[in-house]
Amino acid sequence: MSIITLKNVSKTYKGLTLFSNVDLNIDKGKIYGIVGPNGSGKSVLFKMICGFVFPDEGNIFVEGTEIGKRKRFPDNFGIIIDRPGYIPNKTGFQNLKELALIKGKISDERISEAMEIVGLQPNAKQKVKNYSLGMKQKLAIAQAFMEDQQVLILDEPFNALDAGSVDRIRRLLLSFKDEGRTILITSHNQEDIRVLCDNVYRINDTQLEVVTNF
């Protein structure tokens, strides 16, 4: 069953036609890879699915509900889109706590657990302004799944991660898939896509093409 559906979606962004009458069905419990050159529209596609921007034409449905009709942003989505804006003078834990307080669904223990899963120390006093790029990326991944979000939209989640961390996050994403979560991912590293994804689409000439031999 499709959890996300795009019907005849067209989008022009800042004067550039990115998508033209695109259809896409995303099934629950699978990992999808979206590849394409820089500026091809990967992030815009993710922003449209999340409801941050509307398509010029066509419709996007998440769990049967059309985005922009009764609902703006879908529930239960964990995302990494653009660089998350952390509060530099707070620790990693405090930053995640601020985000968690918006919904107020999870405990401090759960936040700590999420940090430990990605390889961060929840009790460290180090402020985010002193974090390395890799640590910031791990924090971004932690916030995307800490509330048990069932759909993960991850734009370049492996950026700035060392080899050990890449391996750890790959295993984590595969375990999420086994739990039945749906993941959409972009990466410039073909290996990430090959190891993780059940289905791969390439953005080519305003269309989404299925890639069969990745």
Partner: protein, 503 residues
Amino acid sequence: MRQRNIRLKEYIQDVLSIKWILVGVVFYFYGVLLKNEVVRDAYEMSISFNNWDITLRMLNDMYLIVFFIIPVVLFFSTKTILVDFDYQILIRLGSFKNWVYNSLKQFWKKGTPLLFVWIFMSLFMTIGFPYSWNWSQVSGIKHSATPLYELINFFTPLSAFLSQCVLLILTISLLHIMLAIVYVLTKSKHFLLSISGLVFLGGVLGFKLLPKKIAFLSPPTFFSLTAGVNTFGSPIVIYLVILGIGTLSILFLQILDLDKKTYINSIKSYIPIGCYIFLCTIGIIYSANSLKESSGTTILDVWVASFVGVNAESFSYIPFFYYAIVFFGFTYLVQLFLSTEVEMLGYYKIIRYRNLNKWFWNWMKKLLTVAALFFFILMGLSLIIAVLFGMKPDFHVTIFSNQLYEVLYHFFVNGFLQIMFYIIAVFIVSWVSKESIYGVLLISVFMVLLLPGINETGFIPVGLNSIVYLMDYSPYSLTLILILANGIALGIVNYLFKQSLKI
């Protein structure tokens, strides 16, 4: 509980941080200046002063508001908006509407110390002043910067103090909500900063340069109860304005998250009607304005002057163009409707109506009802505008020699028949040509027929509903001509329908 204590501790630490201490120092030195001014005024005039003179002056002082409070509020507001507009936050909030409310909450978390320090210092500065619950004599004098005497008629000092605090909270919240909406709509940092700059500049220029009549356009007016009362003449109006704009903002927030493409498309179809109504209104306002200086003009004069129109002998450009706008504009809108109706006419529709005449009269009856209503609306609009322009509410016409009943008969009956003729003529052209452009060409021909010297005999049934025709013609003879013209036009329609069924 532990979490709340930590947050309270963080908040107290924030209030005691160096930036707020510096803000307090600014308030202190400015307060000292105001304090000296109050004391000087009181000694020069040998009148009493008290604690409220300094507290209320500090909270209402326009220089402090314009050059310090507004920039600080704008800084915190834009900073909060830019920091909080984060996709990871947005997805958790579920909608832009929730984000605006959340942003307001975050703004007040950061901005409350400003209000707190301001109010605290306004009370702190009363040290050394005599205390009272009543207005002092100094409050009653016309002070240049903060005329507290404006408040004396409406408030006790304590209620003025509380009302000012409420006004500040409402105005600052509204300003933040509006900036947040601007950012959601544009997602442009530069645009947001430009708007903030404009608010500041509008404040700097507005509070000194704008005359009292249009001082409501200056943002600082809404930050100060004294400025508000000075501008609107009553404290209630300033709250009503703020609450009105606030209500509109909240209503707008309800549609902020909708995909507006479909709504914009549906609005697009109403744009011609909107433009048409606007132009009709402007024409009547012009007539009312031109009659404003004449003495004894009545509300009906505005109505007659607006729809006086032209004929072959009596021609001038403004009535010509206004006639064209009102009556040919209406015909053009009908033409738009007809082109769709004729294009959509398929066999399935004809079968349902069984014959073309039935189909024709089905929509024609609706159009004629609208046309009849249209004349009542035109007259009503003229009378309302005339009243607003202060014309005498007498029911007689001074600028025309005809009896009122004749003018009314001509306007409504001949007007209706004339519009009916235009509609049928445009329909005939649409039916024959199936091209909407020919309808526009026909309207252009009608306009040419209104030009001087062409319709000297008055037999061409175009523009005969102009009130100016009453100078040379009986309204009843004009009715006869129009009935004849409509009869011929309907005959042509009947003929065309019969021809089209002969396949």
